[in-house]
Assembly symmetry: C2
């Protein structure tokens, strides 16, 4: 068994920070159509399986989707849901410029990326250690797996985009998922022409970056 | 601005995998009482702030808790909730040996660790880009921040334990959190005497590790 008690150096920790800071949400305008190496896909999945999970329940399932028909069905759900989103922004009194900016954004890469991965939560029957007071912990374990995948992909110079403007029921239907599964994340995965220096929504001024002192508190509110 | 389009090498990616695999959930029997360096705490928080967030909403807040009284109040909630958990396992027809195993587990390090960090979701009023169809995306962004913290801590040879056997309302009350905030994670942070080679619950046989072929599917169910 490998030594997991190993000590990492400052230089190694600094490299991790560079990877965390260089990870981006990638959309269809940056993906290349190149097929991914199976060895890279395997590393991304291995990273997922090393995520923490509440009570070591490992409540995750990963469906690799390349089929064009499935992806077109899922992309249709995106377009429907994005139209509803626009209605919500209109109702929320966003000004014309902001609505125009929303409509100009490319928010997914479902068909442009060579691989999609649908990530599901598979709830366990009966109590799960650590999940008895906070039932959402199972889903949160699956999210930790997604973040591991995102970071491993970035270290392999592969981009991931998380598409959340979807009807989870339609994604489940397209992939024939059992009733009890819950969609946590729908990921577009592929090589990219470049990674942006900062999040696109930051560059475009959609939202401002919060300063540390706005979100870090000492001892309480 | 740093170049975020940098290419990482296979050796660097392999190092990330080592970090992912060496990260552990740490409980009170492994924490040392040593105070943490402020520079390390800053790096852990910086890692959090580089997490992805839906619509760049950055819906997170981090409360650093060292105060003994707050921690004792929160530890009391753990003991109450853990008693309820035991009732659930009893009702779930777990056998006597499994119940005994549960009772013998050390499941938190609230007072043993030198620092606790309560991580909250601060929901935004009005629609959030990317969150209109899946409202849980805001909470999931906060979970990504937690996973970044966990990995950064591990690279600094610092342990984190996520305590979820808590009543979120009692934690909120102890920290005077506003009504609309939601507790996502309660973290115990500190140096450790050692990191285990594998998850403790795996070593103890509480749950078995799932094989990749059990949780990875091609094209659908």
């Amino acid at each position: 068994m490998p030594d997991r008690n190993q000590q990492f150096s400052t230089e190694q920790s600094d490299l991790l920070m560079q990877m965390l800071a260089a990870r981006r949400d990638v959309r269809g305008n940056r993906f290349l159509a190149d097929e991914l190496d199976q060895s890279d896909i395997d590393k991304i999945l291995k990273a997922a399986l090393h995520a923490p999970s509440v009570g070591f329940s490992q409540p995750w399932e990963f469906v690799l989707v390349k089929d064009k028909q499935s992806r077109c069905t899922i992309a249709e759900s995106f377009f429907e849901e994005n139209e509803k989103a626009l209605q919500q922004f209109r109702a929320g009194n966003y000004d014309a410029a902001k609505l125009e900016q929303y409509q100009a954004l490319k928010l997914e890469g479902i068909v442009e990326s060579p691989l999609n991965i649908a990530v599901f939560y598979n709830p366990k029957k009966g109590p799960v250690l650590g999940q008895t007071s906070m039932p959402e912990m199972g889903r949160y374990s699956v999210v930790c797996a997604v973040q591991n995948m995102w970071l491993m992909a970035r270290s392999l110079n592969i981009g991931i985009g998380w598409v959340s403007i979807l009807d989870p029921q339609k994604v489940k239907a397209a992939l024939n998922a059992p009733q009890d599964r819950e969609l946590v994340a729908y990921l577009c995965v592929g090589k990219v022409d470049k990674f942006y220096d900062q999040p696109e929504l930051e560059t475009l001024g959609w939202e401002e970056r919060k300063a540390e002192q706005q979100v870090v508190l000492s001892e309480g509110y």
